[in-house]
């Protein structure tokens, strides 16, 4: 008995081509219609820095930048990414392999513990600073309100965000 003969077998398996840019690299991927961006990134491309946690857009562990905006990869269908620029945590940082100041701030301030929320947190802070270089505390809170951290109590994360903001102030 083949799976396609059975009532209720998994659907949406038809492949279609997805052209997008991921971490600066133009890609053409064969992706089933029902796939989510999170699954394409993690399972097909082995970009496992984007984390899977709640899968309902609540925790932010799977946050990536799509055309510079932070979005939850768990809520994004792969086909919606056609023609878009996607940046995952692996694509954050200087071209020479150095770190982005936001990453460095998280590292130096201890803005992480288990680190599972960290890629999403860094994406959110990065997106915030790119659109609002000198945000208020309220803006930082708002920007990170969709990212849950269970380890730090957000103390280190707030300190990291503040430090990244200070660095940007000092050297815009």
């Amino acid at each position: 008995m083949s799976k396609h003969e059975m009532l209720g077998a998994p659907r949406g398996a038809e492949q279609s081509e997805l052209a997008c840019t991921i971490n600066g690299e133009e890609m053409k991927l064969e992706v089933a219609g029902a796939r989510r961006l999170l699954s394409v990134l993690r399972d097909d491309l082995a970009l496992t820095g984007t984390k899977r946690s709640c899968e309902i857009g609540r925790c932010g562990a799977c946050m990536v930048l799509v055309d510079g905006k932070p979005i939850n990869a768990c809520l994004t269908m792969a086909y919606q990414c056609a023609g878009k620029q996607i940046t995952t945590i692996e694509g954050i940082g200087a071209a020479d392999g150095g770190m982005d100041p936001v990453q460095r701030a998280f590292l130096e301030e201890g803005g992480f513990q288990c680190g599972y929320c960290t890629p999403g947190m860094i994406i959110s802070v990065k997106a915030l600073l790119d659109r609002s270089p000198d945000p208020s505390e309220e803006e930082v809170e708002e920007a990170l309100s969709g990212n849950i951290c269970r380890c730090t109590g957000y103390g280190g994360i707030k300190r990291a965000a503040q430090r990244a903001i200070e660095w940007r102030r000092e050297a815009p």
Binding site: M1, S2, K3, M6, G8, P10, A13, D43, A46, L47, T48, G49, T50, K51, R52, S53, C54, E55, I56, R58, C59, A61, T88, I89, E90, I92, M99, Q103, R104, F106, L107, E108, E109, G110, F112, Q113, C114, G115, Y116, C117, T118, P119, I122, E141, E142, L144, S145, N147, I148, C149, R150, C151, T152, G153, Y154, G155, G156, I157, K158, R159
Partner: protein
């Protein structure tokens, strides 16, 4: 001095696991995959209590791309697991007892196919009456979950004569406290990769807090020798006690062995919620009395803990709660009666604080109520009744001499936040429906597993062939900063540079069994291990160096990069040169037990950490919502091993306590979870964390103390909730008895009138 980056100076260091975490390059065990890998899925019971009449897997077996469908008939060894009591079925045979109970498992070529295959497994159930209330479960006519009855464990403690104790009391308060089914909510859900090796061994890449315990349990289940199983167990995306028991491992292991292919399992959040452990919901009734001046005379406690369908560590958690409902106070007459009860609710188990959280919320509530009756400052009442440095522990057991109780009491008393309490409340600056209050609480919290429970510790140091000094421990890094703490201790105690060190943890093929990474014990035990190893390891190194250099060993010293002449600054010999020299490999190991008290009382502790919390909260009487504005934590745990880690653990623990106090409850009705994911199960976000968290470590230990740093992994999570309750009372005069705090309790009709008036004025 408050703990922060500035006050820590050079000891504020970048974590060794930091770079991989901020770049996303660190592969967690649930990120792993392997060529030819299959996907595993577990079929779980939809019913909280039912008989299994039949299981038919034929249709699922026939599905193309499905490589294995397993039931209880396919378990080669023991079809049970559990750290302390092996009573949880790997696969249920004839009865399910909660909605996470596993009935079958599938391995298929895609995750979707595995999911679909589950729907083709036909299980015929006969529903049984549901036992969803721990108290009712103890009644004589309650349906039985287990043949031996619904009582997992009873724990009692008696001292003095309760009747005459209460008869002598001038003031008595009585209340009942309820605490929620809190969820660990580690961000990385349970999962892993299970690889059958060519030589017939099995490698398990799956997070756990104790690799050797998993290995033992998997060996029982698979009927394989322990040595044939390798457990790789770090890094972990959070655990907090929740990944100490087996979770996906039995299924991944059995599927991999059956198919002879690597199998990946990774729980969805809903699967994690239904199958995973929670904090034991407890109902704690207390009656406590004092004489006219406020001295505690009598304390009576009844604890009912809902342990769910299987034992896990329910008995041990209850024992801990029984100890901690007594707390750091002196009384002559005490009676505690605790029951851990099976129900058809979700599984309860180990969770940061281990029953202390529930106990301390209740006990500190009693102290506040008594102070009110006495017309006394609640903090002063605590001082009057607290244990003295030489006093025995809560069970009357000998414990290490400690000034911790008074130290944290004094620190909190002197804190700016507590002093603020006496200052004028600037009501006019706020909307009339916003009220502000300040409260405090304190505690002693035991570390280690306690009397009568195997609690091994130890580790190994060796000079590797490439000149790295390897520190090899059986502990796990689940985010708490264990690697950073170990690195800092090696740097500070041995004079090493970071580049001289290689830390090896979390792999049963490579490390000694150092006991579980739990019960706030790992830092203490790593410190003790290094103390034991320092002299023999250093002297071995220096003697070898002395031979090579033709100098006397006592003129040489270890330092960054190699061996130095004590008198001068020049590097005489690198560790690499030392490693390349002829002779036996330089290596030292030590093994010992976590120190325990000389008492027969199972679970009683010997080492304690003390903490006091002051908290300022704001209550919105329109919404009934509580917001924590500022927190002060004094923690007496001996010398701070790792400032960043210490601060992070207290901040993080307090965040968990905040959730416990104001939002978190895995709500169940009729044995079914109502809160299935993070949209309804609400853990604190950054928005709930306004204001400051000040952490003051008290590092001073009594003269001659040889036990060094005490654990702090749990103590930050146990004292905030009662302090919040005290602050709420100070602000609005309402006593909270049930957590999480129900907003309805704090809403105020007068506030609505104020609000209407304010709006009409605009």
């Amino acid at each position: 001095m408050l703990l922060n980056r500035e006050s820590s100076g050079k000891r504020w260091r970048i974590r060794p696991d930091g770079l991989g975490k901020v770049t996303g390059r660190l592969a967690y065990l649930t990120d792993m995959s392997a060529a030819g890998m299959l996907y595993g899925r577990v079929l779980r019971s939809p019913y909280p209590h039912a008989l299994i009449l039949s299981i038919c897997t034929e249709k699922a077996q026939q599905l193309e791309g499905v490589h294995a469908v397993l039931t209880h008939l396919d378990v080669p060894g023991l079809n049970r697991y559990g750290i302390a009591h092996q009573d949880q079925p790997v696969f249920c045979e004839n009865k399910v007892r909660y909605v996470g109970d596993a009935v079958a498992a599938v391995a298929a070529e895609t995750a979707e196919l595995a999911e679909y295959a589950l729907t083709l497994i036909e299980v015929d159930y006969e529903l049984l009456p549901i036992v969803d209330d721990a108290e009712l479960a103890l009644l004589q006519d309650a349906p039985l979950l287990h043949p031996q009855g619904n009582l997992l464990h009873r724990s009692q403690f008696n001292r003095g004569q309760l009747g005459s104790g209460f008869a002598a009391c001038t003031h008595i308060v009585e209340d009942t406290y309820f605490t929620p089914r809190q969820m660990h909510t580690y961000m990385e859900t349970e999962g892993g990769l299970f690889v059958p090796e060519e030589d017939g061994r099995l490698t398990v890449y799956s997070p756990t807090q104790h690799g050797f315990m998993d290995r033992l349990q998997l060996s029982r289940i698979t009927a394989m020798k322990q040595e044939r199983i390798r457990i790789v167990s770090s890094p972990i995306g959070g655990s907090f006690g929740g990944k100490d028991e087996l979770n996906v491992q039995p299924y991944g292991a059995l599927l991999a062995l059956k198919t002879n292919r690597p199998v990946k399992l990774h729980h969805s959040r809903w699967e994690s919620v239904r199958a995973g452990l929670k904090r034991h919901p407890m109902k704690i009734s207390m009656k406590t009395g004092t004489d006219a001046s406020g001295h505690l005379l009598a304390h009576q406690v009844r604890i009912i803990a809902d342990t769910g369908a299987y034992a896990t560590l329910g008995a041990e958690v209850l024992n801990f709660a029984v100890e901690h409902v007594l707390g750091p106070y002196r009384y002559d007459h005490v009676k505690v009666d605790g029951y851990s009860v099976y129900t058809n609710n979700g599984m309860s188990g180990e969770f940061r604080g281990f029953g202390g959280n529930q106990a301390i919320f209740a006990l500190e509530g009693q102290l506040d109520r008594l102070a009110e009756k006495l017309g006394m400052d609640p903090w002063e009442l605590r001082r009057m009744n607290m244990r003295m440095p030489d006093d025995p522990g809560p069970f009357g057991q000998p414990i290490v001499v400690t000034e911790g109780a008074m130290q944290v009491w004094n620190a909190a008393e002197a804190s700016g936040l507590w002093q603020e309490r006496g200052m004028p409340n600037r009501e006019e600056e706020r909307e009339p429906w916003i009220k502000v209050g300040i409260g405090s609480a304190f505690t002693m919290h035991g570390g280690g597993l306690g009397v009568g429970i195997p609690d091994p510790a130890g580790g190994r140091l060796l000079l590797a062939a490439d000149g790295c000094i390897e520190a090899i421990f059986g502990y796990e890094e689940f985010g708490q900063g264990l690697l950073a703490t170990l690195a800092l201790m090696l740097i500070e105690q041995f004079g090493l540079a970071e580049s001289d060190i290689r830390m090896i943890i979390g792999d049963t093929d490579l490390v000694p069994d150092s006991g579980s990474t739990t019960a706030s014990r790992a830092t203490s035990m790593m410190w003790k291990t290094l103390q034991n190893l320092k002299a023999p390891f250093t002297s071995q190194l220096l003697e070898r160096a002395a031979e090579l250099l033709g100098k006397s060993a006592d003129k040489l010293a270890m330092g960054a990069g190699g061996i130095y002449e004590t008198a001068g600054d020049s590097l005489l010999l690198t560790y690499k040169e030392l490693a390349e020299a002829k002779g036996e490999r330089i290596s030292c190991s030590t093994a010992f037990q976590f120190p325990t008290s000389d008492t027969p009382r199972t679970g009683a502790h010997f080492l304690y950490t003390y903490a006091a919390v002051v908290v300022k909260v704001e209550i919105n009487q329109l919404t009934g919502r509580v917001r924590v504005l500022d927190q002060y934590h004094a923690v007496a745990a001996g010398p701070v091993m790792n400032p960043q880690g210490f601060l992070g653990q207290i901040e993080g623990g307090s965040s968990m306590a905040l959730g416990f106090a104001i939002t978190e409850d895995a709500v169940m009705q009729q044995g079914q979870y109502m809160t299935k994911n993070l949209d309804t199960y609400l853990v604190p976000t950054i928005v709930e964390h306004r204001g400051t968290v000040s952490v003051e470590p008290i590092e001073h230990l009594p003269h001659g103390d040889s036990f060094g740093p005490r654990g702090i992994g749990e103590v930050g999570s146990v004292t905030l909730a009662p302090a919040i309750a005290a602050a709420i009372h100070q602000a609005v005069g309402i006593r909270v008895t049930k957590l999480p705090i129900e907003p309805e309790l704090l809403q105020n009709d007068c506030a609505f009138a104020f609000a209407e008036e304010a709006v009409s004025k605009r």
